[in-house]
């Protein structure tokens, strides 16, 4: 059974009341209470009260769409992203790209699909163990050009950062042999990315007059069959479904109107087995120490069992960053395309975080050029 149980995630704090904010609020409340209580035994300095009240105000007073603190965070982020350069975002090293297409029928047939995913998981484990520490990145992209027909471009790239291994070219050649077991593998040289000529909060216009809106995928469904990606990316199927249940309501109009090009990319950073085991050890310890809820405890125990089994069998854990770009040819249509994509993602339990006001180089992450993105990079 496939399961995408939630792992560690760093929430995006651009929108919504983030867990970090609510945690800070609680801490601040605690500090305030302590301060008040301390007056029983002594005279606290006056500025301490000012600090507590001020912090509460920063976190909780909303000016417009964000709290004051969040405005400041976003401002800093803006400021930083204006100053980041591609060299800062991308790490140096050896990168190679191929196109990869599974053999025909692999994705339709449940048995073959499971075999394919198992093989890909093994390849990730293999890649993770090619270096002493995590660092080698595998980047997979899918671009669907939708018209009367759909053209799919699927690439896979490997990036070996500088100074990670002594013979990066040899490592890449070794990994290439592993990839070639997965399907039709062809060496590919990605075209130069088009430059951005205009930007708005929700999109970027490229020099070839396409508009791109990119989202980070922040959540995967807890349970998913192996056809998750097929269901999400193969729109032709969805169209026939939408037409079949066409009751002409608002959503239908939108879904039909906004069938556009779409790209999805996932950046995998597999960990070496040793690091994976360490990570699992701490994850488990933290889970056992801080989980009070009995149901959650049992749930974690169950998940831990299967994770443990996988790790014993030699599997590893993978850090993954995923991005989705929708393409269109005008600001209006791209808004509609975003809407339609969001609906589909909601259906499948995929959480999207549209990178509002961060469309600098975000679309690059869904091209093979994103293969060398640094961990935790600001886009």
């Amino acid at each position: 059974m496939y399961s995408l149980s939630p792992g560690f995630r760093v929430p995006a704090i651009q929108r919504g009341l983030s867990p970090l904010e609510s945690m800070l609020t609680k801490i601040n409340l605690g500090a305030g209470g302590t301060l008040v209580a301390s007056t029983m035994i002594g005279d606290p300095p006056f500025w301490a009260f000012g600090a507590v009240v001020g912090a509460a105000g920063l976190i909780n007073v909303t000016a417009g769409r964000r709290s004051l603190a969040r405005w400041a965070t976003v401002g800093v982020r803006h400021w930083r992203e204006r100053r980041t350069t591609p060299t800062l975002a991308m790490s140096e090293g050896e990168t190679r790209t191929w196109t990869l297409y599974p053999y025909h029928g692999t994705m339709q047939d449940p048995v073959q699909r499971i075999r394919f995913h198992a093989a890909f998981g093994k390849v990730l484990t293999f890649v993770g163990n090619r270096a002493r520490t995590a660092g080698i990145q595998v980047h997979v992209t899918h671009h669907a050009q939708v018209g009367d027909y759909t053209n799919h471009t699927q690439t896979i790239s490997v990036h070996v950062p500088k100074n990670l291994v002594t013979q990066p070219k040899r490592e890449i050649a070794t990994i290439e042999r592993q990839f070639s077991n997965l399907g039709q593998l062809t060496r590919h040289k990605p075209a130069d990315p088009p430059l951005i000529v205009e930007r708005a909060a929700g999109w970027a216009r490229l020099e070839d007059d396409r508009y791109a809106a990119t989202a980070r995928i922040t959540g995967w469904p807890a349970e998913a069959d192996g056809d998750l990606m097929s269901r999400f990316l193969l729109e032709q199927d969805r169209e026939s479904v939408a037409d079949g249940n066409d009751d002409g309501d608002f959503d239908d109009v939108h879904t039909r109107a906004a069938r556009t090009d779409r790209s999805l990319a996932v950046l995998y950073r597999p960990l070496p087995t040793r690091q994976a085991r360490n990570s699992e050890k701490w994850r488990r310890a933290a889970g056992e120490a801080f989980t009070i809820d009995k149901v959650e405890q049992d749930e974690q125990a169950e998940v831990s069992g299967s994770r443990h089994e996988s790790l014993v069998r030699g599997s590893t854990v993978v850090d993954l960053d995923a991005y989705l770009t929708v393409w269109s040819d005008s600001p209006e249509t791209i808004t509609e395309a975003r809407w339609a994509t969001q609906l589909e993602a909601d259906d499948l339990g995929i959480r999207l975080d549209w990178l509002t006001a961060q469309q600098n180089r975000a679309h690059l992450m869904t091209t093979p050029h994103g293969a060398s993105a640094r961990k935790g990079v600001i886009l």
Partner: protein
């Protein structure tokens, strides 16, 4: 960043499509991933596709015939292939149809239609080699009299075929009846040939007369791109069909294939089960299939289901196909087909749910996909066989007889229309398009073509009225059903952006309003306006209150701003709960204020306590002003309600003037002649015994003259024994 197990992370890899594709004509689109699907079997490598014979299955209305026709048309147009079609309408055959379903396509490709009964095929043509001629005549005999061909009869037949008169069927019968002596005497040959004669008279004098004999007996041309043998006029159980098939197979094998110059040829058999089930024709087809690769031929069979074939030889024939195209079938039949062709389970499961034009394709041993055949409008006109069925369905929904006539006429097959005396079927269709109910009473006249688009489709169509009436009566479910059916029909007939389709949106908006959902009505109307259809927009902007207005826009439709940024982030429930925080901050602030006040009071108390502890009741300071050394001394009285302040300059000869002043009380002292000045003293009443007392001290020294200003200082005296300069807060030395 999300951390997952490698096994789980693999699911997120967006590998959804393969790159497999075949060379050849475009056929359609893969339903599974939307990629284009091309295939010309003859262009595929031999290793992948050893033979090029195909079988198309599917129930009525699954689009199998249309798909096959479209493929053949493209093969002919793009690859210059040649085609022979055995065309026999199946169960769909319309009453009164005089032509086969391939007729429009054949005509379009400048082909030749050969109708059974109108064209005579000559089995004894000298163009056939002698052995083929014999084989053909034997087939004809076996078809009607399976037991007639004994060894003796065969010999008699061979003998007769060598007779010069045997250049057509009539001559052959004569030669059988009146043979010349050969290896055996004529009497014997006559007796042996009786059975064959009896069988052949079916073709010359009996029910099958006119098929193989006649004055103009000849052979079809071999240089036309497509030849369609039209069996429409024959009953499907007629013995003529196997006989004709036998003749055609022989012609194909020995004449057409040899003389044709095309790169590749197709032999298409519609309703193939009839052909496959007859042992004689099945044998001929099997021979064609076996030789197909050698002679550059593809045998393309089209039929409904495998169950029609039984378990025998016919099924073996079906098994020889390497390209299988399976349209919608029942689950049982799908399972049977899946077992025969070793289809994967997912494909078998899909077969019963395929839509029209969709088919599961199996090409060669490994490639299986669901393909939607895509046809152009022109091809649709040439290939559509389901028009009548659709017309009947639409008619059932319409109460109005005029409307019914409209749809029927529009949908009728071209072949049927041509049999009428109308000049063009399409002109007639257009005339009926927007015929109004109102024309019932008056004389009928058709609208001129240019006027058509300006007529509001809703005013001509009572389906809209039916919907609204049902909605007004509260039967919203029924209204919605009618609306959906009508809208689909109109979208299919006129297109998504047509005024007809827009009119349905308008009607649905009205329906929504009647059902008490103004927001949805506003959505729909906004959609109409956004569609950019002039009629729709014009209506939407129409504020005229005249009778032509069909709708009224609600006062303030809460139409969402679709062009603005869509906030698609799920709302956090805690995000807007401001009041607990505000209350907490307020409480915190109040508490902090209270604590501060409290602390201030405490501080004062502590200070007072400290003062009380330090209380000495006396204070003094030593001053040196204007070269005079003096002491200021304050003494608090025992009852602590007053202070006595004294300025002492004892034994100071230079002290000419001493003054002490506080709170309006003042004491001055000047030395009398030859004596020292006395110490001036004042008594100041106090409320707080611990508070400091401030006094103004002025001392005139040696140079002081009466009337001049003496040097003065303000001194603050604390009951704790200390004294300060009141202006600089500098602590002064004690007098003690």
């Amino acid at each position: 960043m999300i951390r997952l197990l490698a096994d789980h992370a693999a699911i997120t890899a967006p590998f959804v499509s393969s790159s497999a594709r075949f060379p050849g004509i475009p056929i359609g689109r893969s339903s599974s991933d939307g990629r284009p699907f091309n295939l010309s079997p003859v262009q595929v490598k031999y290793e992948i596709l050893p033979s090029t014979n195909s079988l198309t299955l599917g129930e009525i209305g699954s689009g199998k015939s249309t798909s096959r026709k479209v493929q053949i048309r493209r093969e002919v147009k793009l690859n210059q292939h040649q085609v022979v079609v055995i065309d026999s309408f199946g169960e769909q055959k319309p009453a009164g149809a005089t032509e086969g379903e391939w007729a429009p396509l054949t005509r379009d490709l400048n082909g030749q239609i050969i109708k059974a009964g109108e064209f005579t095929l000559n089995p004894c043509s000298p163009l056939f080699p002698p052995d083929v001629r014999e084989q053909l005549v034997r087939s004809l005999i076996s078809t009607v009299e399976p037991t007639a061909l004994t060894p003796q009869a065969s010999h008699a037949l061979q003998h007769a075929l060598n007779h010069p008169k045997a250049s057509n069927l009539g001559g052959l019968v004569d030669a059988l009846q009146a043979p010349e002596d050969g290896r055996y005497p004529a009497d014997k040959l006559t007796a042996w040939g009786e059975g064959a004669v009896l069988a052949l008279t079916n073709y010359t004098d009996g029910a099958l007369r006119g098929l193989f004999d006649g004055p103009s007996a000849g052979l079809p041309d071999t240089d036309v791109p497509i030849i369609s043998f039209d069996f429409t006029q024959l009953d499907k159980t007629s013995p003529a069909i196997p006989a004709l098939m036998a003749a055609i197979s022989c012609w194909v094998e020995h004449v057409w294939l040899k003389q044709s110059t095309a790169r590749h040829r197709h032999f298409v058999i519609e309703e193939a089960w009839q052909i496959f089930l007859s042992p004689h024709t099945a044998q001929l087809i099997q021979k064609l299939i076996k030789n197909s690769r050698k002679v550059g031929l593809s045998v393309d069979a089209v039929m409904h289901t495998l169950s029609d074939l039984g378990d025998g030889r016919a099924l073996d024939l079906a098994r020889l196909a390497t390209i299988i195209q399976i349209g919608r079938l029942t689950p049982d039949e799908a399972a049977q087909v899946g077992a025969l062709y070793e289809l994967p389970a997912w494909a078998v499961e899909k077969i019963p749910t395929l839509t029209t034009g969709e088919a599961v394709w199996k090409v060669g041993p490994a490639f299986v996909d669901v393909i939607q055949t895509i046809i152009s409008e022109e091809e649709a006109k040439l290939t559509d066989t389901s028009n009548l069925r659709r017309a009947a369905q639409a008619a059932a929904l319409l109460a109005d007889p005029d409307e019914q006539q409209d749809t029927e006429t529009e949908g009728e097959d071209t072949a049927v229309l041509l049999s009428k005396d109308t000049a063009s079927p399409f002109a007639e269709t257009e005339e009926y398009d927007y015929e109004c109910d109102g024309a019932d009473d008056g004389p009928y006249f058709a609208l001129p073509p240019g006027v058509i688009d300006t007529v509001d489709p809703r005013s001509c169509d009572d389906r809209h009225d039916a919907v609204l009436q049902a909605a007004r009566a509260g039967r919203f479910g029924e209204a919605a059903d009618i609306a959906v059916v009508g809208e689909r029909a109109d979208i299919t007939a006129y297109g998504m952006d047509s005024p007809q389709a827009t009119a349905w949106l308008v009607t649905r908006a009205e329906m929504a309003e009647l059902s008490g959902d103004p927001a949805r009505a506003a959505h729909l109307r906004a959609t109409v306006a956004r569609m950019g259809n002039d009629d729709g927009a014009a209506w939407f902007e129409n504020t005229d209150n005249s009778a032509t207005q069909w709708h009224q826009v609600p006062d303030d439709p809460a139409t969402p701003d679709l062009t603005g940024e869509v906030d698609d982030e799920p709302r956090s429930s805690t995000r807007r709960r401001m009041w607990p925080y505000a209350a907490a901050i307020a409480v915190l602030t109040l508490t902090a204020g209270g604590v501060w006040q409290n602390a201030d009071r405490d501080h004062k108390q502590a200070e007072r306590q400290q003062k009380a502890d330090n209380y000495k009741g006396r204070s003094g300071a030593n001053l040196n002003m204007d070269s005079v050394d003096a002491d200021v001394v304050a003494r608090w009285t025992r009852d602590r309600d007053s202070v006595i302040v004294e300025l002492r300059a004892s034994f100071e000869p230079n002290a000419k003037y001493l003054r002490i002043e506080s709170d309006g009380k003042k004491a001055v002292s000047q030395p009398d002649e030859g004596r020292f000045a006395q110490s001036p003293e004042i008594v100041i009443p106090v409320d707080d015994p611990y508070a400091d007392v401030t006094v103004d001290v002025a001392i005139g020294g040696k140079g002081w003259k009466e009337g001049s200003r003496a040097a003065s200082r303000e001194i603050r005296l604390s009951p704790a024994g200390t004294a300060y300069d009141a202006e600089t807060d500098e602590r002064l030395p004690s007098d003690l």
